[in-house]
Symmetry: C2
Subunit: 215 residues, 2 copies
């Protein structure tokens, strides 16, 4: 039996499931989604949630069209300046430097910080050819030298690359009469010494704090 | 500083990151994607792969518009009949019954089957209100009674619901002078007895096979 006998209509004969395969392939642009998960997602959407698939398509188009970088702090926004940079409720004397917008959101979730941010959109990584120019550190230096910022809090990751970035930035910024601080390292809240890695514990020992009033 | 001073242009002030949040919310229609993973995916797409996001949007639109069910076997296709049902290279005397298109693809991957398929698009699940009508078993009975099919291979899952579905179908089909078979149960290829669960091992004992020539 061929396509014509089967009444397949005017559509040219195609590979079986080809649009489905295209969808599965396209889903692999998502981080952490391999071929098996992509196929499962594609089948799930077609079988159970075509409305969700349409909404997702629209959200992807809307976001890629409208989301850009804040001209002041570099995070994602739809306006020229992000809502945080526009707010007059934030303490403009503090500037927290993070690697990514996700890190910014994490710091905001703590509700323990009311200053402004600068998002590097990366980190120094000489092995990958990412130097000070690639993450445009001169923009951060300019931002930190606006005369209002008094303290720069370096909140890059505690990975090798994040630490190197913080070290490099620390030296550059300290030369400009700014207070430069780094997030504290140590045992996590709720952490049990037995299960904390030795490196973290060593750091917590070295940077131990006085209890009660300072001597 | 308010939005106008900041030169935010004519766009009305919006929630921070709102299109981004909409995208993250929309990504949660994907199976196995929680709020944290959805946010990570949204940020990744905007930061590193806007082209991929556009392609994904297009693939979603294309697939939801064009993919429908094969009129004969119920699997996903873009034509009236799927490529397998259209093929004249398949053995039309064998009909393999599976729960989902993903199961069909798995059986095809074995390259050990050259017959046709019928996809239930579900399983009997009385507790969820899914009975013989909901998965339209009468369509399968009609399909299996075309006079060409000689053997129906029940390849539903070996879960409680899949087994119940196979049992129910087996009784219905056996009354129609069809050979009805079920996939073999037993120790998986490469399986070590020490790590096989007791239920599987018991089944493999009960359904043990003669080695060499039958007596």
């Amino acid at each position: 039996m061929n396509a014509r006998d089967a009444g397949a209509g005017s559509a040219p004969p195609r590979d079986p499931l080809s649009r489905l395969e295209e969808l599965a392939r396209a889903l692999r642009c998502l981080p952490g989604v391999g071929p098996k998960a992509a196929q499962r997602m594609a089948l799930h959407l077609l079988q159970h949630d075509r409305d969700g698939a349409q909404r997702l398509a629209q959200a992807l188009v809307d976001a890629t069209r409208t989301v850009r970088h804040c001209e002041r702090c570099n995070t994602f926004t739809e306006a020229t300046l992000c809502a945080l940079c526009q707010s007059n409720k934030r303490d403009a004397t503090q500037l927290c430097v993070v690697e990514t917008p996700a890190d910014l959101l994490m710091v905001e979730q703590t509700q323990a910080y009311s200053g402004l941010y600068f998002v590097l959109m990366g980190r120094l990584s000489p092995l990958d050819g990412i130097g000070p120019k690639e993450i445009r550190l001169e923009r951060l230096l300019q931002r930190a030298s606006d005369g209002v910022v008094r303290e720069v809090i370096l909140a890059t990751n505690f990975t090798n690359e994040g630490e190197a970035t913080a070290h490099y930035l620390g030296e550059l910024l300290a030369a400009r009469e700014l207070r430069v601080t780094r997030l504290a390292r140590g045992v996590p809240v709720g952490g049990e010494l037995e299960y904390v890695d030795a490196g973290t514990l060593a750091q917590a020992l070295r940077e131990r704090r006085n209890m009660g009033s300072e001597p």
